[in-house]
């Protein structure tokens, strides 16, 4: 079998020799042009005049386009609400594209883009959630989930806690920036290369922009140098720009954002504010809770509605909320368009309830782990119903947490840390265990489908395509393992080429962690079809029962005979057996009414837990992650090495989000952290000094591909334990009378302020 094994990444030899090609590495045809956007330097204003003469006159400039010059739709929105690619008379954020420069070189385009003279009439800019709320600037009316009667339950509870938490956004910093190419073909045809998680959407947007049917546009995507959600919708503008410029000039066009432009223009993780009020019993169990989530959507709809929905759907995390009201406010502001980012709102919702658990433990002076354990969903019975009325059927959190607590010596280390802190005045340590329960499926039910195309050639080699995109998550390796497994071939016999809208149509974005669940199943269906045809053929030719035919070790076992796979294929071809098939998969069981907040939005849940230990320096606010222990549930892993890699990387990125990665906008709405010099991304030396990652031993109870579980997003939220460990260390600076109430990201400045607050020093 090729599945359930740690086989190496399909592109390994290319990656280590620098020969793996990303969009910007693909040689351009001769005569290619390069594009750059001219950007707004106001956050909110009316454009009173735009003088682009100097831009047009700049060396190397071939054309300059404004919204009025576009041949078709000026819309790069991933949602039904339009989002102009180039501003139309008004600007809504600092860095919004105003005009498009087409030039002979990348540098010429970028230089010319700075020469635009734009006059504005400033309008009041909404830069924070509070600014937006003050004028009721919402993308849609608030959404509410209600189960039970929370207010009376809170009123009757022994203790009431309440608070507000600010949660910052996050820059994707996919190491490969946004990039696209477009090459005009014959007639109205066009070929687009785009670093995108969503080739079908690129196809649609380009078709609308050019006024051509979808079948005139082919989009190809071999691999991305990281996506993390940032290439779900944010590549649309570059691909459309290239296509439009290619159509107007008849020449191939390329566009890539300079890193600083990329950080200024493109969307990021949504900043949130979460307010909570909870009634708690003496043992730390929740009686009732009310959450108000405020989601900063930025200037456009983008993917904000499903992101805000997913935050609501994870407001419970792994905990049973007996009486609950969750209200979500989708606030429109004048910042970049906040967009998809690994976890898709889930992390912000989850941080809210973890904060509540931390707050309960601090207020009642209980061990935070026992508070968490007391509130977990039960395996069965009445305490299994989510706030959205779905029953949690596959809960492994209680056992998984208990197992991890033992593996990580949680109790002993906690006691040791208390002893250390009693002796140490400057350095303080903290520890926290936090769980993750993450729902798997797109909440837009129709997106839960996938297709595949598989060819077996007469030499026995297999070529396949599916709708998913490779961004480093190992999707192609896992899918190739599935295909090789069906035919009993070594992995090297299976080749997956660029994702291509001409091969597999109408695909969903590679998002929601669904890549291998959906595409693995679709590929398996196609391979099974071909394998069945081969079996039928062999059964007849060798006059043997179908069940006596097996594919293994590159051979076909037909009763007592053994053939090389290629020999059987060749014979089947000569007998006119079709050796190509499509496959299709639609996730069963899911149905969801998003406005009512009822149904089964998720096919299943993925679980995990992490224990993090940190040390803080109470004189500077600096900290180190000393140790992290993780136990994570990926079902029956398709590839344990890839899954462990995903878990480690996700933890690092999740901890980065909540600790060092701080986005700063100034009073004019300018992003001041627009490069990795000012925006602190975890590096090798920030990784936990001791890092133990193990996979939970279990199979998915649902019939997923080889009973595996999705892995892309869920472990991101393991990083929450780092925030809670820092909170724990800070608490050691005080007498316990005052809750730490640490906002995220917990930068050294925030930590120092919180330490001083514990010590009664006001800032």
């Amino acid at each position: 079998m090729t599945v359930h094994r740690s086989l190496p990444h399909e592109s390994g030899p290319l990656h280590v020799t620098g020969t793996a090609r990303y969009v910007d590495d693909v040689p351009l045809p001769p005569g290619a042009l390069h594009l750059a956007f001219g950007l707004s330097d106001r956050a909110r204003a009316r454009i009173t005049a735009m003088d682009l003469d100097a831009v047009r006159a700049a060396p190397g400039v071939v054309a300059v386009l404004t919204a009025a010059d576009l041949p078709g739709a000026n819309d790069v929105s991933p949602s039904p609400v339009p989002e102009p690619m180039l501003a139309e008379g008004e600007v809504f954020f600092h860095g919004q594209p105003l005009f498009l420069v087409v030039a002979e070189s990348h540098l010429a385009a970028r230089k010319a883009a700075r020469l635009g003279k734009v006059s504005y009439e400033d309008l009041p800019a909404l830069l924070t959630i509070d600014d937006g709320l003050a004028v009721d600037s919402l993308i849609e009316p608030p959404v509410e989930y209600l189960r039970g009667a929370p207010e009376p339950a809170i009123a009757a509870a022994a203790h009431v806690i309440e608070g507000t938490m600010e949660i910052g956004g996050q820059e994707h910093f996919y190491l490969e920036g946004q990039a696209a190419h477009a090459v005009p073909g014959e007639g109205d045809e066009i070929l687009v290369l785009s670093s995108t998680q969503h080739p079908s959407e690129i196809q649609h947007k380009v078709a609308h922009a050019l006024h051509v049917p979808f079948n005139a546009v082919r989009v190809e995507m071999r691999r991305m140098g990281g996506g993390f959600g940032g290439k779900e919708s944010q590549g649309n503008a570059l691909a459309v720009s290239c296509a439009v410029a290619a159509r107007l000039t008849g020449r191939p066009c390329a566009m890539r954002y300079d890193r600083d432009d990329d950080m200024v223009i493109t969307g990021k993780r949504h900043p949130f504010q979460v307010r909570y009020r909870a009634g708690v019993a003496a043992d730390g169990r929740l009686e009732g809770i009310v959450f108000e989530q405020f989601c900063n959507c930025g200037w456009s709809n983008d993917l904000s509605l499903p992101v805000a929905d997913r935050a609501m759907l994870h407001a419970d995390n792994a905990y049973f909320l007996p009486h609950v009201r969750i209200t979500s406010h989708r606030v429109k502001t004048n910042l970049c368009s906040f967009t998809a980012f690994r976890g898709f709102g889930g992390p912000q919702g989850l941080v809210g309830i973890e904060r509540v658990m931390d707050h309960i433990a601090a207020s009642l002076r209980l061990d935070p782990l026992s508070v968490r354990q007391a509130n977990l969903y039960d395996r069965e019975g009445p305490r299994t119903v989510t706030p959205y009325h779905m029953v949690v059927e596959d809960n492994v959190a209680p056992e998984l947490i208990a197992d991890l607590a033992v593996r990580a010596d949680y109790a002993e280390r906690r006691a040791g840390i208390a002893a250390f802190n009693a002796e140490s005045r400057v350095l303080k340590r903290g520890i926290a265990l936090t769980p993750v329960k993450f729902g798997i499926s797109f909440t837009l039910t129709h997106l839960n489908q996938a297709g595949a195309l598989v060819h077996v050639y007469t030499d026995g080699s297999v070529h396949l395509n599916h709708g998913g995109t490779e961004m480093g998550q190992g999707l192609h390796t896992k899918v190739a393992q599935v295909a090789a497994g069906v035919f009993g071939l070594p992995l090297g016999a299976v080749r997956i080429t660029a994702t291509d809208t001409g091969k597999v149509p109408n695909t969903s974005a590679t998002a929601a962690s669904s890549g291998s669940d959906l595409n693995g199943m679709a590929v398996k269906a196609a391979c099974d079809t071909i394998a069945d045809r081969l079996r039928d053929f062999a059964a007849e030719r060798w006059q043997i029962d179908r069940d006596a035919i097996r594919f293994e070790g590159g051979e076909v076992v037909i009763g007592a005979e053994r053939l090389r796979f290629a020999e059987l294929v060749e014979a089947a071809y000569m007998a006119r057996v079709q050796l190509s098939a499509t496959g299709y998969y639609a996730t069963p069981k899911v149905q969801w009414d998003r406005r009512a907040g009822r149904g089964r939005p998720f096919y299943y849940f993925a679980y995990g837990a992490a224990v993090t230990e940190v040390a803080i320096d109470t004189l500077t606010g600096e900290y180190r992650i000393l140790r992290a222990d993780i136990l994570h549930d990926v079902g029956a892993s398709l590839n344990p090495a890839i899954d462990i890699g995903q878990i480690e990387g996700a933890y690092v990125q999740g901890a980065g989000w909540l600790t060092t990665e701080e986005l700063v906008w100034d009073g004019q709405g300018r992003l001041r952290t627009h490069a990795p010099s000012t925006y602190k991304i975890p590096c090798a030396s920030d990784r936990p000094q001791v890092f133990n990652v193990a996979l939970w031993d279990g199979r998915n109870r649902e019939e997923t591909i080889h009973r595996s579980k999705a892995v892309g997003e869920p472990p991101f939220m393991l990083g929450v334990s780092a925030l809670m460990a820092i909170s724990d260390a800070i608490a050691a600076c005080g007498d316990g009378s005052r809750y730490v109430a640490l906002d995220a990201p917990a930068t050294p400045e925030r930590v120092l302020r919180a330490v001083d607050a514990q010590r009664g020093i006001a800032w």
Partner: protein, 178 residues
Amino acid sequence: MAPASSTTSMKVSFRVNGTPRELELDPRVTLLDALREHLHLTGAKKGCDHGQCGACTTIVNGARINACLSLAVMHAGDEITTIEGIGQPDALHPLQAAFIEHDGYQCGYCTPGQICSALAMLEEIDRAVPSHVQEDLLQKAGITEAEIRERMSGNICRCGAYANIVAAILEIAEGETA
């Protein structure tokens, strides 16, 4: 149509992966752009173009540099090694093989920079170049995980494959010292 640039260009010659190359360049062209756009060696990546991510790390006269921060014309006579010169799929350098063995990447975009950086970094330890985590600055640092993590902290991996990157480097470092 006006030409893209009216600046006078300069000739520069250096060796890239052992082959003499001569280019006629605008003096403001970085070494990274010279490699990627003029010599079509796209192994070195442009992650930030500001010396902040390490994706463009290239070895010049045995030392690692951020090729995006250096002008090509400053390298007359230099010996430049890019990832393409370290090994090819059919003839891998042991460190490249170790990266495959340990899955020292996810998306792979940082990988060429990590490998170039690591090779020169091991040389630095050998030449007794000190680091922040070293206990005794007068002694040559040992090849430890802490040293490697510190010395590789200029190469961002946004996928967070650090555990495997460090494991791959450690493996060949130990092989060399053993």
